[in-house]
Symmetry: C2
């Protein structure tokens, strides 16, 4: 007689008439679920012969005490801050963090993904590249993987990303209000969720705040692109440069310093992220803050939740961006 297979969380959810996450949290004895519900679900699971899945059991039996973090760059201080915060959280939970850097290169990322699974990490936080999607999902079939900073469209993996709308819309409103126009935008690459989402928010914001004829450059998350595209936009008569990430913001500052352009007199600047160079200016730079430390904390907590078979209710978690207004967008 064949052994009866263990029911899935989904089957238990259908039988109990509740969501998968309720089942999962009830089985993890999470106090967010009412005691009577927890008891009912635990009894049902027992009756149905539920066993935690192979992955979870494997984890329990060979806990390495380490997690992996895959970042696309370390010279970008945004990701260095992310790595530092993930590590601090992990350490507070008695876990070590192995950090690997994909250098924005899908081949490198694929190698790292293959390799990480051999290093017995209990889970992985990954800033994904879309070209590596298959390999990321393959790894996720063996250990818990949570996406951070960027998302993969239509993926089933949990993710924590920033919502660019609050910060970017505040910036656009400010620029319109101070007549800091015409406006040029240095966009991130269309192969990243962040690049696409920020461009959409920018375009919609320009419509809503009646900012006419914004110039848009489809760039990359690189300092050199920021420098070159800034110079092109300035030649086109742009009054304000809006850079779609840290690295391009550095490029914009390079362009301004090289050509002795005074900020905000000759050109106003809006950038992304807290970076020491942005505050340490004659006129400090107005930026969209993605609260990367909060993002790292939340992603880590979701990862340990998934590792404990206690995932969040929603697949995607968003961190609101905020605008930090400094002198680079001062009304003159």
């Amino acid at each position: 007689m064949p052994q009866r297979s263990t029911p899935t969380l989904k089957e238990l959810a259908r039988l109990a008439g509740v969501s998968v996450s309720t089942i999962s949290r009830a089985l993890a004895n999470n106090p967010a679920i009412a005691p009577a519900t927890r008891e009912k679900i635990q009894r049902l699971a027992k009756e149905q012969g539920y066993r935690p899945n192979a992955q979870a059991r494997a984890l329990q039996s060979r806990r390495s005490g380490s997690i992996g973090l895959i970042v696309p760059s370390l010279v970008n201080s945004y990701f260095a801050t992310m790595a530092t915060q993930v590590q601090a959280e992990a350490m507070a939970h008695g876990l070590n963090t192995l950090i690997v850097n994909a250098n924005e290169n899908p081949d490198t990322l694929n190698d790292l993904l293959d390799n990480l699974s051999h290093h017995q990490v209990d889970g992985v936080l990954c800033v994904p590249l879309e070209e590596s999607r298959d390999r990321i999902e393959q790894l996720a079939s063996t250990i818990p993987v949570v996406l951070i900073d960027r998302d993969l469209p239509d993926s089933q993996l949990y993710s924590v990303t920033s919502d660019p709308a609050p910060g970017m819309r505040s910036a656009l409103k400010l620029l319109k209000h101070h007549h800091l126009l015409p406006l040029g935008y240095l966009s991130g690459p269309m192969s990243t969720s962040t690049g696409r989402e920020r461009l959409t928010v920018f375009q919609q914001g320009c419509v809503d705040y009646e900012i006419d004829d914004p110039r848009i450059f489809l760039g990359g998350y690189e300092q050199q692109r920021g420098l070159e595209d800034a110079l092109t936009l300035l030649k086109q008569g742009v009054r304000t440069l809006f850079a779609g990430d840290s690295m391009m913001t550095i490029g914009v500052l390079q362009a301004c310093h090289r050509h002795r352009l005074r900020i905000p007199h000759d050109v106003a600047v809006v950038g992304f992220d807290r970076h020491p160079a942005f505050e340490l200016q004659q006129a400090p730079i107005t930026v969209i803050d993605q609260h990367v430390s909060d993002m790292a904390t939340l992603a880590f907590r979701i990862l340990i939740g998934v590792m404990a078979d206690n995932p969040p209710d929603q697949r995607r978690t968003y961190i609101n961006t905020t605008l930090i207004t400094r002198e680079s967008t001062q009304c003159l």
Copy 2:
């Protein structure tokens, strides 16, 4: 009859009348050793029953294809650059790099050291903290470890560090020549080789270039220390601030910006390392360049040499620092 033990490289060196490194390189078939010498040494090794040591054999049998890199900070872009370059070199050699961050904390470093050995890395590059010396040497008894950026006094481990003298002495000569005095120095901690060596070079340079009464602050490798100590030195009437690392240089710039001090008119500044914030100034900052990418490349090559039982001749390898003169020390 007990099995005769394999001779050590040292014993072979004594028998052949050559250095240990010649033996090691000859056995590794390194073309730097004359073919006749190589052949002679290989024959001798065979006669004496030489077998590569247990560590080297273990490595050969369980190569993980990964190395570990331990840095004391990632928000310090100097170490982020180091990590990026080590990883690029390792990747070019078909090796992955696991990066771990000790946050300048000996307890964290001890945990990381214990943990790295469980992750099957083939070798480790480590920026040491002196309080963790015992654990570093313990790890080095099981896998090859090469020190980078900082050294452990009287250690037997190979190290690659920068020689602060060429860059710092050029800076002191320039400051004296341009009459940018009195001078204040923000020193790194005395618990690091870099902190001690740079202070010695600073003091000797002041004597040699007849810079009278330099003010010295024993600080730490932290931005906040740079900010506070800079303000104290400025109150003491210092004309030029010389910061002993990247993080303190950022602190000095914070102090200048907060108090609207114009560089170099009100205060001249010399810093350490290439950091985007140092170039992106109204008056870009003169810095001592430690050539951290070259340091990373060299340390990686020494590590794979040690892993292949082919270590360098000298225990310590130095990278010369150079002075990058920019407007922050301009003669007015």
